[in-house]
Amino acid sequence: MSKGNLTRRGVLKTGAVAGAGLALPTYLSAQESGFTNAPTGSTVTLGFNVPQSGPYADEGADELRAYELAVEHLNGEGDGGMLQTFSSKALQGNGILGKKVEFVTGDTQTKSDAARASAKSMIEKDGAIMITGGSSSGVAVAVQALCQEAGIIFMAGLTHANDTTGKDKRANGFRHFFNSYMSGAALAPILAAQYGADRKAYHLTADYNWGYTTEEAVRSSTEALGWETVGTVLTPLTQTDFSSYITPVLQSDADVLVLNHYGGNMVNSLTNAVQFGLRERQVNGKQFEIVVPLYSELMARGAGSNIAGILGSQNWDWKLENQLGAKYTGTNAFVKSFGEKYGFPPSQAAHTCYVQTLLYADAVERAGSFQPCAVVEALEGFEFDGLGSGPTLYRAEDHQCFKDVVVVRGKENPENEFDLVEIVEVTPVEQVTYAPDHPQFAGGALGSCNNGA
């Protein structure tokens, strides 16, 4: 564990000439190397910007655990985790480019303003060279734009809206997590296979950007396979009791309810839907079904037994390698180091954050420089394996990772609170790949990478 000073200025103490003098006007005091916060000492600082207060605080805590583990592994402590299975062997376990990895943490509060304030303090005060984390798309997009402007690399944490690598994509930002489109594309064939192609769906959608893109993705994918969408209703973010949105479903002839909700919204809407007996409902001789496009372990825990039998998609699941074999190598290595350190298996948010940290470090090693543009170049079009999701591509056009998507179902009788979902199927990467100019991702441009300074 890194102890000792954790600020950029600590780096300067040893690295820069510590005399009195007025430096030239620069942005964020860039060094001669020509990019923001170039590390000059024996350490390099990463910024982990996760929600620590507010409804997503627990998810943030899990992300932070993963980051700490990643830092350990990068610095050659612990068992190395996925470094052993990662297809790229550039990382030596001696930090990044020989510099010991240190980190600072901040609280996004799941508010774009607070997240940017926190990220700015990491950049300006602590000299972070890379920012990562977050558990909502609003925050990811806001911080990504900030990092672009400042000349810092942003490795998104949990963000699922198409916009992050769609209309709000930025050259300095990268997303490992999957997105709304992929959820739709992965779920649709399995929904059709499980529930039949002749279904009438009713959507409840969170009334903000992520909700819109998810609804659109699931709708277009399921309609392509013959489903009919009989109703869509937008629900306010601040809604807690969804009963008045659920009861109209009873009046409609819908036989599937799609809950495009996340976090507390999802826990409450699903709980309410089950309360109203939708799980036992029969419509025109068909069993009524509920679908939650984006699953998360923490939400599943919050919804308790209500998730039993409900389908949804995930970026990754800790049981992947055990159940589906060596294609998903890396999973077990990660689960083992995480589980031994913290006593329970990691969530998909933890996984994506861990992987993002490794991918960044690896890109720096391969580029031989911390310079953002060099890192961007190293990551663009990078193909890798052994990080738990099978062969993966970081696409150059939009900085989105393409990999298999896991379709899961809530367990009927979970044995403990960490094993709430079972893997139904894995949708192969080919089925969830789309063209960079796909209409759901239209608008916006990457721009060019920014070194800052």
Binding site: S29, G138, A142, E149
Partner: protein, 398 residues
């Protein structure tokens, strides 16, 4: 000086000096020392101090003078930010038109909302303003997404027209500036182990803050300010003295709304993104808390309150267990762990807890807010000084 009496002039001067030397004062600890974590002298936080200071100064003109407690002031801040970002998108990256439009838009909003809300007083007024602000938030977050950017906030894009700036040569989004000076430009001064950062945006915002502060002093001391205090003191008497309280309160509401718009415009100028959460009721509540924490109706109190809350939010929240361990590394292992375990709930993700405790302690022990604390301190250190602070900062408005 500037039409102020001696006490006010010296207060303004003190504030001006503090603001000018803030990069030094806020970075008292050498880099690399354990205490460096408490340094607040980096551009973003310094900008926030002065911007929220402006917001709170404006809020105090309404609440401190007239006693009308608006629970929806963040709406004006949000509207100001949106207006400013739209100016950046459509017109120019120069901050001046953006800030002017922000102030005007917020003023117009305040005029409409104030006109309606001021038909009621007391708690009914508070709830009306709250309702307007919550409606603004809810609509901005959802239905108005095309105008406000919704969840992700309103952002600049490469293909924005920016008709005054001409074609964008680079492949990067331009940054806000003031006739060529970019808001994000900084200069570092290295003195031994100390590094002090001087940021264009900070000084730009600081000058505006000083102007706002000066205007607020003038308002406090003007006949208009006296009328506002009369509104708070006895509306009945004011009515029977031939004065109509409504336009006075409305004027105060609009002025403080414009201050909020100014703060919003500046926020967008420092960081060109406007998010809907800026209008959520917790943001309105925050400025209420800042003002009360600092001292309602005092000139400098709201600024102190704003500084206190923003400091906690940005500094305390960033202390994590590792940093704690590094501080107490000198202790024997068992003791170190014990100390860290005891402090841990109050820092990092527990910063809200510390904030709540500070609120309670201040209001219990310093009924006049932080300003009163300052007076008590000053009282300890010498009579002369205490006298100055007291007369300078506390008009008997409460």
């Amino acid at each position: 000086m500037f039409g102020l009496d001696k006490k006010d002039a010296s207060l303004l001067l003190i504030v001006a000096v503090l603001v000018a030397f803030a990069p030094f004062l806020l970075n008292p600890f050498p880099e690399g020392s354990a205490m460096a974590q408490f340094n607040a002298g980096y551009p973003d936080l310094m900008q926030r101090f002065v911007i929220f200071g402006i917001f709170a100064i404006g809020f105090n003109i309404l609440f401190g003078l007239t006693g009308y407690l608006s629970f929806g002031h963040a709406a004006f801040l949000g509207v100001g930010s949106y207006a400013a970002v739209w100016m950046f998108k459509l017109l120019s990256m120069n901050v001046i038109p953006a800030i002017i439009l922000a102030v005007i838009t917020a003023g117009v909003f305040a005029l409409i909302i104030g006109y309606v809300s001021l038909r009621r007083s007391g708690i009914y007024f508070s709830i009306l303003t709250l309702a307007f602000a919550q409606m603004s938030f809810a609509l901005a977050y959802s239905v108005l997404t095309p105008i406000t950017g919704g969840e992700t906030g309103l952002q600049l894009a490469l293909d924005d027209p920016r008709i005054l700036d001409g074609a964008n040569q680079t492949n990067n989004i331009p940054v806000p500036g003031f006739f060529g000076m970019e808001m994000r430009d900084s200069t570092d001064l290295v003195l031994g182990n100390w590094i002090f950062t001087f940021n264009v945006g900070y000084y730009f915002a600081a000058i505006i803050m000083l102007i706002s502060f000066y205007v607020s002093i003038r308002i406090f001391r003007s006949p208009f300010g006296m009328m506002l205090r009369a509104v708070k003191s006895n509306q009945q008497r004011l009515n029977y003295t031939g004065l109509n309280p409504r336009p006075y309160t409305l004027a105060a509401f609009v002025i403080s709304g414009m201050y909020a718009g100014l703060a919003g415009g500046l926020m967008a100028s420092m960081d060109p993104l406007a998010g809907a959460e800026r209008m959520f009721w917790t943001a309105s509540g925050e400025v209420v808390l800042m003002t009360i924490l600092g001292g309602v109706g005092t000139l400098i109190g709201p600024v102190l309150g704003a500084g206190m809350i923003k400091y906690m939010e940005n500094i305390i929240s960033k202390i994590n267990a590792d940093i704690l361990h590094s501080w107490f590394a000198f202790l024997p292992d068992g003791l170190e762990d014990l100390v860290v375990t005891m402090i841990y709930p109050f820092i990092g993700k527990g910063w809200h807890l510390t904030l709540g405790i500070v609120f309670m302690l201040v209001v219990i022990f310093l009924p006049g807010g932080l300003v009163q604390g300052g007076q008590k301190l000053a009282g300890l250190f010498g009579r002369k000084k205490a006298e100055d602070t007291k007369t300078a900062t506390t008009e008997p408005a409460e």
